[in-house]
Point group: C2
Chain length 246, copies 2
Amino acid sequence: MQSKMAEKSYFSHEVEPQEVDFTLRAKAPALIMAALNAAGRDARCKGFGVDELGNENRTWVLGRMAVEFDRRPAQYEPYRVETWISGYNRALSTRNFRLLGGDGEPFAKIVSQWAMLDLASRTAVDLSQLGDAHDRFVVPDPLPIDPPCRLRPLGEGAETTERRVVYGDIDFNRHFNTIRYIELIFDRLPVEAIAEDRPFRLDIHFLHESRLGETLRIACEECEEGFGFEIATEEHPCVRASVRWR
Amino acid sequence: MQSKMAEKSYFSHEVEPQEVDFTLRAKAPALIMAALNAAGRDARCKGFGVDELGNENRTWVLGRMAVEFDRRPAQYEPYRVETWISGYNRALSTRNFRLLGGDGEPFAKIVSQWAMLDLASRTAVDLSQLGDAHDRFVVPDPLPIDPPCRLRPLGEGAETTERRVVYGDIDFNRHFNTIRYIELIFDRLPVEAIAEDRPFRLDIHFLHESRLGETLRIACEECEEGFGFEIATEEHPCVRASVRWR
């Protein structure tokens, strides 16, 4: 039987009042969350969502992400999330997104890299084993933006704040959730830059989980093009990121 | 012309992955947010939403709220928010909610009291002036639960933490947003009580706004039936609340 050509998936949204900031435009973390939810729903439709994988004691883990925003849509503006898997190697599956505004034009693009984790052995699953179950959903289009870049550790002069991990921060897995890390980063950016809706690129690496009751140290360092971030528990770095104005 | 009988409004939802906690049930603050959004949309449909009022330099301000939960729905469970205005006096309009699960049974009930603020004079608008524009939407059904109760200040022994108001906390008005206060409260409850999905009643009074850059002091005191809370800036109390197990 000949397999059908894989297609991109689309999810329709509208900017909800709780997603906007004081500029009455959607907060970037809320839009990134809409993209990650689209990933979850798309994987679920295709039979490799986290709930199905859970039956085999496996799960998807987001490793790295690159995000570029041109603008943020206004309250009640309709938008669509377009998502597709562009390929994979043994370690990582690459999922892409474009967020399209009410005018049909993309206002944000995302490249994300995911590993599949075996929960019993706590090791990565070799994705080449999955064969057709994964293959037939690959849309071999070019990446919409450059993939996540290398990030260097911060210098000694980074300014650090602390934040305890509380109930509202944790996900179904009892880990500090992905979007909250991104919120921590946006909470440290200069409010004027956000007010201007300045175009930016975010690169973020997820290195280690953090858990309820742990204390996060959030280090932020200004550099020529923007800001570098490192979020760590006492034991290990959890997230490294940079935000650069474009 | 005879006016049509006022009717309750309904808004359909599904519990989204980002709304669940580690029990895979929706977090209570996320469900309360769905109710407040329904209020916003309903007011907007009826011509007295915050955007229309903004044209007259007026806005709705949530004064007090009582919330009772029997259970919290699971991830992807459909639910409906039912909302209606049951009456008003010169100072306050009373808006009620029932949240109905996939089985059609209510799992949460809310009574909320709102004032209308004139933004120029910073004084409350006399709601009896509004006449028919408000009258014709009143559904004179009984309140679904007891209205918000009196709350006493906490004792000296309350345990206090601090929290700076950051970008992600503030609403379109640059004030710390309502739901974040409720999240602060849930973040201080014992995680075991949340894990058990224990039925509760929340009473909350919104006394004063707080703003970007201010530091909130969150005081929490255990009492016989649950917990009392006071959230304050250096200058004034912002929120007083109690959570009681039922």
